[in-house]
């Protein structure tokens, strides 16, 4: 197996799909000749030439042309540099891409992949720090995933590109340059969906996704030191969402905490709590949601640090849930 960082794994997945699917295209701002502002698309232009190109700073044209090209047999893989920027062109994702298959009754399809990355990083301003997955998860017709490990960064992107629906792959720039890990490349294309038990435990089920997964695992480690065993269930696929895995965990532990970086109100954590509650899963205590409070994200790290959940805060809140 190759040892790859998260960013290298994304790059490896792009090379693979460009190799095995001649109808793929990769384009976006600075992705071709410069190889991407995070270096994630390096080597593609040199290897695949015209199938990889840089674009104007025109998100509506990037996304809309990807939808149009997909209607005509291409599999565009376009990059929106920051999820925050999707808001200048959301129409093309929600009113265009998501409608193609349904409204045409399946006569047309829009198999495009939108790669983006999101979340706060030290010093990032309010316009470069949002976690927007909940917006996309409210849109029928889209698929959405958020890998947090090199293996998933590879697998989910390969799956997304092979998927015949519009898929949003939300990466995280704080993970691109993380540790190298063994990544199995070239394996069979995995189906869409699924969850990952990152740690098992009997006292509480913590559901999380994206970069938060690492902080949750850190918190779970601390809790273990106090004798609290938390099951950490990562759901890298959010649409479709693996509710069964969550229910299975909760039925064992009797407690649920959902952790995400997005602000709490209207975040996807509400959907998870609502589904578990509707399912009538017996709980020993009311479920909790841990996320960024409902404010904008300030640039100063000392301020943002007081808002975005960290391992200490996650551990404290989960401890409160378990100890009651």
């Amino acid at each position: 197996m190759r040892e790859l960082t998260y960013g290298e794994a994304v790059n490896a997945a792009l090379h693979r799909v460009m190799e095995e699917l001649p109808e793929t295209l990769v384009y976006g701002e600075d992705v071709a000749v410069p190889g991407g502002v995070f270096g994630v698309t390096r080597g593609l232009r040199g290897r695949y030439g015209e199938r990889v190109f840089d674009t104007p700073i025109s998100e509506s044209a990037i996304l809309g042309s990807a939808v149009g090209a997909a209607m005509f047999g291409r599999r565009p893989i376009v990059e929106i540099m920051w999820a925050d920027f999707s808001l200048v062109a959301l129409d093309q994702i929600v009113n265009q891409a998501a409608n193609v298959r349904y409204v045409s009754g399946g006569r047309l399809a829009a198999p495009l992949t939108i790669r983006t990355q999101q979340g706060n990083a030290p010093g990032a301003c309010a316009q470069h720090s949002q976690s927007l997955e909940a917006l996309f998860l409210h849109v029928p017709g889209l698929r959405v995933c958020m890998p947090s490990t090199p293996q998933d960064a590879y697998d989910l992107l390969v799956t997304a590109v092979h998927c015949d629906d519009p898929v949003l792959v939300i990466e995280n720039r704080t993970l691109y340059f993380g540790p190298k890990e063994p990544v199995e490349t070239g394996g069979a294309v995995r189906p869409v969906g699924g969850a990952r038990t990152r740690r098992d435990g009997s006292d509480v089920t913590i559901v999380t996704w994206g970069a938060m997964t690492h902080r949750v695992l850190d918190a779970a480690g601390r809790l273990a030191g106090e004798g609290i065993e938390a099951q950490v269930l990562e759901t890298p696929w959010l649409n479709p969402f693996d509710l069964d895995a969550v229910l299975a965990g909760v039925s064992r532990t009797g407690r649920l905490a959902v952790v995400h970086e997005a602000n709490v109100t209207g975040g996807f954590g509400a959907e998870v709590v609502a589904r578990v509650t509707e399912a009538g899963a017996p709980l020993l205590a009311p479920p909790i949601r841990i996320g960024t409070p409902d404010v904008r994200i300030p640039a100063a790290p000392v301020l943002a640090g007081a808002l975005v959940p960290d391992a200490a805060r996650i551990a404290a809140e989960v401890r409160g849930l378990v100890k009651g």
Partner: protein, 315 residues
């Protein structure tokens, strides 16, 4: 020559007769919701579509019934679509303002102003790789020229010399508001130079003039010369949508518009050239009969099946 013009007359009458049937059906009830008729603008689709090849892409707007007909979509499944019949081109899912008929090279209406322009760029882009030599035609109105997505599409196509023909149907109104007050320069085709593409103002009430300029633009596009912006000047003979009270019309405006509308103009031209009136009237009658029959047949079709309403969301 007069064959071609009689064919244009028939094509325009087919569109107008279709739209008049739609207006009737909307009044009677089988068609519900907001409907945008293209009565008065028929010369543009008729002049343009004859220049398109089967592999070409066509993206229109909610005012797209005429474009679909001119592209070759049969009338009955269009009527059926507007009446929510299972046999509609999209089984009733698209409706009047948002249907597609890809089998006929009609890649859809769009009811978000300007949103179709980037899609057209994508269709043209795909042609770069599939060897089809496809040209994409993007149709939008004067008001859409002020929408960000259209700007981005015009620049995107120009920067990459994509084979796109942008057809702006300038009917002088953006919904209920005159375009003249919504721009600093009312000659919209003059924006083309800034993008580095040719821009022309075209007599949009003359199918022959439209044909000439579209052919020219398609030729340039197919040769790799990139996009062209054609501003086709025309008028709506009717409201923006069915039910529009048209309070914004100036005194005498509708008379002026009727005096230059494409069908009356072509009719007068044919008469002047000595084409017998009976022959000309026969064209109108034939179109009206065809559309009446198609509408009736579509109305007799079964409604879409509610049990299917959730199908085809995902692959």
């Amino acid at each position: 020559m007069s064959e071609r013009r009689l064919a244009d007359l028939l094509a325009m009458w087919r569109i107008r007769a279709f739209e008049e049937q739609v207006r009737e059906l909307r009044a009677q009830g089988p068609i519900v919701g907001s409907v945008h008729l293209c009565i008065g603008q028929e010369a543009i689709p008729v002049g343009a579509c004859g220049e398109l090849d089967p592999q070409d892409a066509l993206f229109a707007t909610y005012r797209g019934h005429g474009w679909a007909l001119a592209r070759g979509v049969p009338a009955q499944p269009l009527f059926a679509e507007l009446m929510g019949r299972a046999g509609g081109v999209n089984g009733g899912r698209g409706g009047s303002a948002y249907f597609t008929a890809a089998d006929y090279g009609f890649h859809g209406e769009n009811s978000i102003v300007g949103a179709g322009a980037p899609l057209a760029c994508g269709a043209a882009l795909a042609g770069r790789y599939d060897g089809s030599g496809r040209v994409a035609v993007s149709v939008f109105g004067d008001g859409a020229m002020n929408q960000g997505a259209v700007h981005e599409a015009l620049n995107f196509a120009a920067a990459f010399r994509l084979p796109v023909v942008f057809i702006c149907e300038n009917n002088r109104y953006s919904e209920l508001t005159p375009i003249s007050g919504m721009v600093g320069n009312p000659r919209l085709s003059e924006r083309a130079a800034g993008y580095g593409m040719p821009g022309r103002r075209v007599d949009g009430n003359d199918a022959e003039a439209v044909r000439f300029h579209v052919r020219d633009a398609i030729e340039v596009a197919r040769e790799g010369g990139g996009p062209t912006l054609l501003e086709c000047m025309t008028d709506r003979l009717v409201g923006h949508y069915i039910g529009d009270a048209e309070t914004y019309r100036q005194p005498g405006e509708l008379d002026r518009i009727r005096s230059r509308e494409p069908i009356a103009r072509l009719r007068a031209g044919l008469l002047a050239d000595g084409v017998p009136e009976a022959e000309i009237d026969a064209v109108e009658r034939r179109a009206r009969e065809e559309m009446a029959a198609a509408a009736a047949a579509a109305q007799a079709e079964p409604l879409a099946d509610p049990a299917t309403a959730r199908e085809h969301l995902y692959a």
